[in-house]
Symmetry: C2
Subunit: 487 residues, 2 copies
């Protein structure tokens, strides 16, 4: 093989010799369309003329990149932890200082630069447990909390523990379609069997017990299903599952002996009237000991979403219910190999689960900032749905929660054929054309999975309101033109 005139006759690591599971991994949220967006940005910088002057990235839930401002209190305490000399500075409020002192006292040598326990700092896990208790009204044990480097880290770790067997005994894991592609990617990497169950688009992407049973029955023919993953509020679909749906899933998991994994990173992102967040843990315990003594549950949370949107800090946790104590020992051993989650992320998480209280000086600002972020998201969720539903050939379920709209788009037969000629999925072709013509970066529905013959895209609702409005109008304009062109 010759590259740049250099011969590599005997390379060790090639496409042919590399880990075949890694080759099977796909991750659309940062896939080809995003790589093309990066290229276009470079071209724009180099002066290449385009029908637009900047690329708008609505492909990923990256809050601060879209202009959301950090919550003052969180950043103040983090700065104090990072450079404790600031504890002498009277510009910082006392409650921020006392939080910083409290956190640093729990760090080795009083420094945020020390390793923590691999499971996470005990103080933070205690604060997480109290947060969960306040949220659910159900006791929580800090020993069952594992801090992580974002939710992705914890989800991958739990999936890894679950995978075993070969052939018909190989572990199968049920994931929704559409899904957040971390799940399919992790399962491919682990060589596990992916079992798809479909969300019901006609019922605002709710889960359906009969569809779960259909999916499971089919999977049992060729693998050993051992877990079910649920994302609520939904990514990419933005729904909030009803309490009834959650009960159905828990009953299903109990009957079918499935380990339940609940991805609840958008738990504060609830917008639609009549919707509320019910944690799987809360519902599980309220269903009584028949379920709460039986169902094994891992639930995941993150510092990257909700009102704070601190993606870069890579903070998160999981709570484990009914985990076999021997397996817990194995889990603790496994996470110790990576030493510890980022301590800055642990500090941030501590503040998220233990924010300023009404009698503390930072409370008014904290409350105002938090409410402003969530209110703006609720407005944008509504606006997005309304505009998309006015476009002929586009229909969008209510964005009840999370940070995404996942509208269904009708594509003309000629567009489908044009895509086929390019070797692209029709919605990838659609999104690529949109990117080239309007500079808007969305993720095609095929990257998340969707019912055969249907097409969608995922768009974040994160851009500032005025920008979002322009984006929505551009998408509308593009959709009309695209439909016309290929009709």
């Amino acid at each position: 093989m010759a590259e740049n005139g250099v011969l590599h006759p005997e390379r060790v690591l090639t496409l042919d010799t590399m880990n075949p599971n890694v080759k099977r991994v796909e991750y659309a949220v940062r896939g080809p369309i995003v790589q093309r967006a990066v290229q276009i940005e470079k071209e724009l910088k180099e002066g290449v003329k385009k029908p637009f002057t900047e690329v708008l990235r609505a492909n990923i839930g990256d809050c601060h990149a879209m202009g959301q401002r950090p919550i003052t209190f969180l950043r103040q305490v983090l700065a104090l932890c990072t450079y404790p000399e600031l504890l002498e500075d009277n510009k910082f409020p006392e409650d921020a200082k006392s939080r910083a002192r409290r956190f640093l006292a729990a760090c080795g040598g009083g420094s945020i630069g020390s390793y923590s326990m691999s499971q996470g700092i005990e103080l933070v896990r205690q604060d997480v447990a109290r947060y969960i208790e306040r949220r659910d009204g159900i006791p929580s044990n800090p020993d069952n909390i594992y801090l992580s480097s974002g939710a992705s880290d914890a989800i991958t770790t739990m999936l890894k523990l679950l995978i075993s067997g070969e052939g018909a005994t190989r572990t199968g894991v049920m994931i929704s379609k559409p899904q957040y592609p971390l799940y399919s990617a992790a399962l491919a990497d682990l060589g596990a069997v992916q079992i798809n169950y479909y969300l019901d688009e006609s019922k605002n992407w709710s889960m359906d017990a009969s569809e779960l049973r259909r999916s499971l029955a089919e999977a049992k023919k060729h693998c050993t299903p051992r877990a079910i993953c649920v994302i609520n509020p939904g990514n990419p679909t933005g729904q909030v599952q009803s309490r009834q749906c959650i009960e159905d899933v828990i009953r299903f998991a109990a009957e079918e002996n499935l380990f339940l994994m609940a991805d609840e990173v958008y738990q504060d992102n609830i917008y639609a009237e009549g919707c509320e967040f019910n944690s799987f843990k809360k519902v599980l315990f309220e269903m009584g000991p028949k379920y709460s003594n039986k169902v094994e549950l891992a639930s995941f949370h993150s510092t990257s979403k909700c009102y704070m949107g601190e993606c870069g800090f890579r903070g998160g946790y999981m709570e484990l219910i009914n985990l076999d104590p021997d397996v817990k020992v194995q889990l603790t051993k496994l996470v110790s190999v990576r030493l510890c989650p980022p301590v800055t992320g642990q500090a941030l998480l501590d503040l998220v689960v233990n924010p300023p209280q009404p009698d503390e000086p930072s409370y008014p600002t904290y409350k105002k900032e938090r409410a402003a972020v969530l209110a703006a998201l609720a407005d944008k969720a509504k606006m997005t749905e309304e505009i998309f539903n006015k476009v002929p050939g586009m229909s969008c379920n209510t964005v009840q929660g999370a940070m995404y709209a996942f509208p269904r788009i009708e594509l003309p037969q000629k567009a489908i054929e044009a895509a086929k000629e390019k070797g692209q999925a029709p919605d990838m072709f659609y999104c690529m054309t949109l990117l080239e013509e309007k500079g808007i970066c969305l993720v095609p529905g095929s990257g998340f999975g969707q019912r055969e013959g249907t097409f969608h895209f995922r768009m974040t609702i994160l851009p500032p309101t005025e920008t979002l409005k322009v984006v929505l109008e551009k998408v509308e304009e593009f959709h009309r033109k695209f439909t016309e062109q290929y009709s």
Copy 2:
């Protein structure tokens, strides 16, 4: 199975059903001895009487936990990045402010809370490339740099790419004995074949080409060796490989078609006279195009060691030489699933590879602080070796670099038998007894691997000089008493 009176008749995830590879993982640095140390600390807090008042943890290279102070400049810039309102504060030096502004300008939305590119922020990768060029005098391409969450993350990722095949075609990876147990743990997790080559204790833990050939020849009988890992400066053994040794390894890798992984996280930790750090990359390129056009090399660095010791931030990078471009695409895809390394760690890394320059206001303090840390470590390395070598039945190679002494200990036959009765490795028994009697937490040599019939322990040289002296004296006292007791 009944726990706390609750029946779990049909648990999904048990020792029997879990991932068998994970069960095989071992990680001594945070293993049973550290868990016992944590217990003892709790007992002390509860008022249980012990022959000591605190546990001294010399088991892990956790610099700040052992009292090392953070470098002021690093923390100032990180605080500015975290809470940019401080950019208006005249207490911060201008060079710290300009670094913070420069870094924030490279973050999405100007916030350290945004995701970065999965490969790492381009600006940081450029700075890393320039650092490598200054270090080696060899060009470095930012496209070949991948930022990571500590070195462990990058090492695990590269190993994952390399593993394929089944039975005799299953990938084997050569690692040193003694080794840092991340390697054995990652290989167990990946189900790869671990191939041991022994370092030569009689030549200050140097590598030996004939031992490499012996080890490889044996391994070829049952697996397909495809990579060799080298830790230099050495962990747990504290040696600095000579240029000759490095050339031998490169020649060996070239001849035998092995992917070369160089763990160089202690590159600034060089203490012994006549020793210098030679990066594998530098030596590879200085050996000429026959090697530099052929050998595939991944080298790893971290923000956790050297003079800064910022373990909690989880910063690091790897540089890839001669990686197949198609594999690089796969690598980029793989790391994108985890979104990005912690951005605070990336910021820290940027400062480490691009520290204050002589004409900048922070330079004198930075230089003084850095020199003080490294000088103290050099003194402690010498003191440790000297004291250990005075103890009858103990011999310690020169601690040329890194942060550890790995003395060999002679254990009486009766002690070996007593250990056997307890089902413990003899050096585990020794270290456990030391922990119970003196409150000193070390890691037994068996956790790193050692020649059959030899016994060692690893001790960090990180405690403050006065504390370290006390620790060394206590170990000496213990060793005499232990030897006497079992003779």
